[in-house]
Assembly symmetry: C2
Homo-oligomer: 225 residues x 2
Amino acid sequence: MQSPTWRDPVTAADRVLLQIQQAIVEGQIAPGSKISEPELAKKYDLSRAPLREALARLERCHLIERTPNAGARVVKLSVAGLLSLYELRETLEGLACRLAAQHMTDDEIAQVQQLLDQHLSTQRVREGESYYQEAGDVDFHYRVILGSKNPYLINLLCDELYFLVRMYRVQLGMNGPRVSRAFDEHKAIINAIANRDGELADLLMRRHIGASRRNIEQHFKQQGN
Amino acid sequence: MQSPTWRDPVTAADRVLLQIQQAIVEGQIAPGSKISEPELAKKYDLSRAPLREALARLERCHLIERTPNAGARVVKLSVAGLLSLYELRETLEGLACRLAAQHMTDDEIAQVQQLLDQHLSTQRVREGESYYQEAGDVDFHYRVILGSKNPYLINLLCDELYFLVRMYRVQLGMNGPRVSRAFDEHKAIINAIANRDGELADLLMRRHIGASRRNIEQHFKQQGN
DNA sequence: TTGCATGATATTGTCGACAATTTAAATTGA
DNA sequence: TCAATTTAAATTGTCGACAATATCATGCAA
């Protein structure tokens, strides 16, 4: 899926950003490990200038943390961090729904409904294909977020928080048991938006994400991390 | 006021960032105008490397917009943009209040209450000192945001959105008529937090910021910008 | 005159090297 | 042996120059 918010990588910094992003999200570069500029520059065969540009953007989406004169480290995953992230998402995507109910065109809404029907049919083939499920889930949330028409909100969710959410999902294996219910919840949300009931859409989305959050909370009960 | 979220500028990029930030916020570099790297490098007497680092961070807080191979421009202010920004703030600071009611210590709450009393007494001296008023307002909001203890939320509001809000305030002269009411509203909010009533604090903060937003909406009714 | 192609100019992106700072190792003293 | 201090190595921050791209001016054709 190509996002409407990403540009295709025209510059060397763009390309190496995508590679490192993927490497971090998938855990090929271990959480907490130090980022060595000379090492990565050699590995990806470019100079440190575009690499540092990429690092600046990685910091922007919270995948690394930099300290002056000391370099960058990949973020460490923690339950507390994950919960903080979901706290934010809950509220932000709720807002996105409320705004989407105001600003989405009937056409855009119809497209999302059609999208969900497609997901339903392809899912009916057989469940357990959690990859497609994830893609579909991401796609739905993206559409709603874009539907909010609020540029700051869109940038925030799609560019800054998205990769971190993905990193947690991939590395902590959060494709949980809430696979079948998600479709119904998505359906209910888009229906509320179609009825221009922003308040309800907001509530349903917060409940939708909140359920995931509580799911995680329970899963990690009394465990260090 | 020095924010707990900012580090003191140890590097050349840090220093020039602060200077350009201020220049943009105060309009010394006109909105919409192009950023010339060679020009600025000469003006601030450093090479383009730290300057580009600074530009990357300026993009992060939405003060400039960059396009590949074409350079950076200072953001243009628009009523639509301002409203989008306030939409976000309304929800985010509401969330901050809800979380602050959960996570602030009694001590921290007492400090904020004490802070408000100080503001009240210094304001009683005479009104119209909107600069101190603004500083006090910022200070209050900061404390609550930090009280949320959510690192993503804190980073978002204090580092990414703060300067843009400030830029709008300074350049559109938004130190409006809502000076005296603000104190009472602040007081009500911190009281709700003190009572651990997160829901009420959330509501009051949203109303507090929403009032400003509607104030702006009305002020710019049927005007292009 | 208008629109498009061509070339000159300026700007951004990238590179390799040096300076400043941090980190690790080695040395000294108790 | 251990702690503190000094020295050495490695890493980050900064610089100036070159390459790639875009912008603007000029000229040409319709």
